[in-house]
Amino acid sequence: MSLDIRYPIGWMFSLFGVILVLFGLFGDKQIYARSLGININFDAGVGLLVFGLVMLLLAWRGSAKLKAGSHTATKA
C-alpha cells in the first residue's frame, strides 16, 4: 500500500509531544498537585516527541531505501 503508516504515527505523536511540552513549560504549574508534583505534561510530552521523531526517521529511511531499490531495479 502506498501509505507508510509510520508517517501519520510520527506526525501525530510529534505534534502531541510539542503541544504537551509547550504546555508543560509555559502553562500553570499549580495543576501538578494531583500528579504528585511531577510536571507530567512536560515529561510525557518529551516521551511522545521522541517516539514521534523516531517513527518519522524510520519512515524516511524506509522510503529512501524503497526509492534506491526501485532505482536499481529500473537500471537492471
Binding site: M1, L3, I5, P8, I19, I31, I40
Partner: protein
C-alpha cells in the same frame, strides 16, 4: 479546573488524523481485495499490532481494569494462559491453511473444507454477533462519557439537555468509524488500529508509572493488597481459595484451551488482520508479533485497576460541566472504586446479601481523573476513546467482509462484477454502522436482552475450535460431521448453562433455568466448564458422524488439511527469522512471566 482547550485540541487532532488516513487511502480502493483484504500487502508488524488492537476494545480496556480491581493479578491469566498459547498455535499451525487456501474469510474456509451449510451457520451467527459487539462497544463508550460528564459542557453550550451527551457520543463515534472504514476499508481500519495501539500505550503508561510511584512500586502495592491479589497462581488448587473462584484444571482447559483457542484461532475479526499480510511468512508471523505486546499489556490495563483499589483515598474525581471536582465516595467504596448506583432508584445497588455492589468499571476512568491534570488528561481520554473505536471498527470490517463474500455473494447475488461487490462492501459498512447504532440503543433500553444475546453467542462460539481442529488435522472429517458437531456443541453449551448455577446468583440469565443440578463457586468457573463441555461434545459428535458419512476425495482437500498440504518453505530464512523460533521465544517469555508473578 476545566477540561480545557488543550484537551479538546488533542482529541480533535486525533480525529483529524484518523479521518485523514481514510481520506488518503480512498484512492487505492480499486478492487474488492483492496477493500476487504487490504490488497494482501501489509507488513507483518502492522498486521501484528492490528491483530492485537482489534481485540483491544471497550471490553478489554475497561473490563480488564475492572477485573484487576476485582481479582488482582490473576486477571493476567486471560493473557498469559488465555491468549498467548492460542496466538502461537494459530500462527504456526493454522495460518498455513487460512492464508494458503486463499479463502477470503473464516466462513469461506469452512465452505472450502466442509460444505455450504457449515459456512452459512458460521457466517450468519458471526455477522449478527459483530453487529451486536460493535453496538455494545458504542453503548459502553456513550455511557462512560455520560458518567464522566465529558460532553456536558459542549452539550450545554449547544443549548441541549444534558441527556444528549449520550446521543452525541454515539453519533460522533459512529460517524468517525463509518467515515474511515467506508473510505479506506480494511487498510484504514488496520492503520487506525496501529495508531490507536500506540495512543493507548502513550495514555496509559504515564498513568501506571505515576500510580506505581504513589503506592510505592510493586512491593508497595503488595503490602496494600491481599496476598491473592498479587499472586496469579496462589490458591489455584481449590476454587474457594482464590479470587477467581476457579481451580487450575478448569482454568487451563476452559480458558486456556477451549475458550482462548476458540477465540484467537477461529474468530474472523482477528484472523482477518493476518490475512491482510503480504506473504505466507508474514501472515504466520502476525499473531506471533501480536503476542509480544499482548503479554505485557496486563501492566497497562490490569495494574491500573489494582492501583485504583489500593489507593487510600475515599475521594473520586468527577467532571461536572467540564469542571473536575473531588467528590467523596460513600463509605462503602474501596479505594477509587465507588459503589454502583442503581439507575432506577438512584440508591446504591445491593447484592443478595445486602452488601453494596462496587462499580469496578470505573477503576481506570477514575484513576485517570485522579492523577492526570489537563493536557495529559486529554491524551488519556483520547486513548480511552481510541480503544472503543478500534473495537467498533474491527467488528465493522469483519461484518462487511462476511456479509459481502459469505452471505451476499453466496446466497443473494452470485457472479456480479468485482466492482459490484466493492460497492456492496461500502454499502454494508453504512448499514453495519446503522445496525450497530440500533444495537447500542437496544442495549440502553433492554439490559437483559444484551446479556441474553451475549449468552447465545457464547453457546455458538464454545464448540467452534473442535470443528476447526478436526477439519485441519483429520482428513476424514466430513461436512455432515462438522455441522452436526457444531449444532450439538451449541446445544450442550445451552444445556449445561441451564442445569448449573454459580453460587449466590439467582436462577435465570445466570443459569439454572432448566434445573439446578450443580453449583459452581463462581460465574467464571461456570463459563469455563460450559466451554469444556461444548468442546468435548462437538469433538465426539463430529468424529462419530464423520465415520459414518462419506469422506471427501483427498485431492479436494489439498491445502486444507495438514497431512495433505506441503509445509510452507522456509529455506530462504535464517533460523531466527522463522516463525517457529519466534513462537518458541514467545512461549518462553509467557512462561517466565507466569513464574515471576506466580
Amino acid at each position: 479546573m476545566n477540561l480545557t482547550a488543550i484537551d479538546w485540541v488533542i482529541m480533535f487532532l486525533y480525529f483529524a488524523f484518523v479521518l485523514g488516513i481514510g481520506i488518503f487511502l480512498k484512492r487505492f480502493m480499486k478492487t474488492s481485495t483492496d477493500f476487504f483484504l487490504a490488497g494482501r500487502s501489509l507488513p507483518a508488524w502492522v498486521c501484528g499490532i492490528a491483530f492485537m488492537a482489534a481485540n483491544l476494545g471497550a471490553v478489554e480496556v475497561i473490563g480488564m481494569g475492572a477485573s484487576g480491581a476485582k481479582y488482582g493479578i490473576a486477571t493476567s491469566h486471560f493473557y498469559w494462559i488465555g491468549a498467548i498459547p492460542a496466538m502461537v498455535f494459530v500462527g504456526l499451525f493454522m495460518m498455513p491453511f487460512y492464508y494458503g487456501s486463499r479463502a477470503r474469510s473464516v466462513p469461506e474456509f469452512l465452505r472450502l473444507r466442509f460444505d455450504e451449510k457449515t459456512r452459512a451457520f458460521n457466517a450468519i451467527s458471526f455477522a449478527v454477533m459483530t453487529i451486536f459487539s460493535s453496538g455494545i462497544s458504542m453503548y459502553a463508550m456513550a455511557k462512560l462519557i455520560q458518567i464522566l460528564h465529558i460532553l456536558d459542557l459542549p452539550v450545554a453550550k449547544m443549548g441541549l439537555p444534558v441527556s444528549w451527551s449520550f446521543h452525541l457520543s454515539i453519533f460522533i463515534s459512529a460517524l468517525i468509524v463509518l467515515g474511515y472504514v467506508f473510505l479506506g476499508g480494511l487498510t484504514s481500519a488496520i492503520y487506525n488500529e496501529v495508531l490507536q495501539f500506540f495512543l493507548i500505550v502513550a495514555g496509559f503508561l504515564p498513568l501506571v508509572l505515576i500510580g506505581l510511584k504513589d503506592v510505592g512500586g510493586w512491593s508497595g502495592l503488595k503490602t496494600r493488597l491481599p496476598e491473592t491479589f498479587t499472586h496469579s497462581w496462589l490458591g489455584m488448587t481449590n476454587p474457594h481459595n482464590n479470587p477467581l473462584g476457579v481451580e487450575w484444571f478448569g482454568l487451563v482447559m476452559g480458558l486456556g484451551f477451549t475458550l482462548s483457542f476458540g477465540y484467537w484461532c477461529t474468530n474472523f475479526l482477528v484472523v482477518q488482520r493476518a490475512m491482510a499480510a503480504g506473504s505466507m511468512t508474514d501472515a504466520r508471523r502476525t499473531p506471533l508479533i501480536a503476542a509480544v505486546p499482548k503479554m505485557f499489556f496486563p501492566a497497562l490495563v490490569i495494574l491500573p485497576g489494582m492501583i485504583a483499589l489500593a489507593l487510600p483515598s475515599q475521594h473520586q474525581a468527577v467532571t461536572v460541566n467540564g469542571v473536575v471536582q473531588m467528590q467523596s465516595v460513600s463509605e462503602d467504596g474501596k479505594g477509587l472504586i465507588p459503589v454502583k448506583i442503581d439507575v432506577a432508584t438512584g440508591k446504591p445497588a445491593l447484592d443478595r446479601d445486602g452488601k453494596p455492589v462496587l462499580d469496578y468499571d470505573l477503576a481506570i476512568p477514575n484513576l485517570l481523573l485522579h492523577y492526570f491534570p489537563t493536557g495529559i488528561l486529554g491524551l488519556g481520554l483520547t486513548a480511552l476513546l481510541a480503544s472503543f473505536m478500534s473495537g467498533m471498527a474491527g467488528n465493522v470490517t469483519a461484518f462487511n467482509t462476511v456479509w459481502t463474500y459469505d452471505i451476499y455473494q453466496s446466497y443473494i447475488h452470485k457472479g456480479a462484477s468485482d466492482k459490484h461487490y466493492l460497492h456492496m462492501g461500502q454499502f454494508a459498512t453504512i448499514f453495519g454502522v446503522l445496525f450497530s447504532i440500533a444495537a447500542a440503543y437496544a442495549a440502553n433500553r433492554f439490559n437483559n436482552l444484551m446479556d441474553f444475546l451475549q449468552l447465545v453467542f457464547a453457546f455458538v462460539n464454545a464448540p467452534l475450535f473442535a470443528t476447526f481442529l478436526l477439519g485441519m488435522f483429520w482428513k476424514r472429517t466430513t461436512g455432515h460431521g462438522a455441522f452436526a458437531g457444531l449444532l450439538s456443541g451449541t446445544a450442550v453449551a445451552a444445556l449445561h448453562h441451564g442445569l448449573t448455577l454459580p453460587q449466590g446468583d439467582s436462577i435465570g440469565i445466570k443459569g439454572g433455568w432448566i434445573a439446578v443440578l450443580h453449583n459452581y463457586p463462581s460465574e467464571m468457573a461456570q463459563n469455563f466448564w460450559t466451554a469444556i463441555w461444548a468442546f468435548v461434545v462437538c469433538f465426539v459428535v463430529t468424529v462419530a458422524i464423520s465415520l459414518v458419512t462419506k469422506p471427501r476425495d483427498e485431492k479436494e482437500l489439498v491445502g486444507l488439511v495438514y497431512s495433505l498440504t506441503k509445509k510452507p518453505s522456509e529455506e530462504h530464512l535464517t533460523w531466527y527469522q522463522r516463525p517457529a523460533f519466534l513462537g518458541v521465544v514467545v512461549l518462553v517469555l509467557a512462561l517466565v512471566l507466569n513464574v515471576i508473578f506466580r
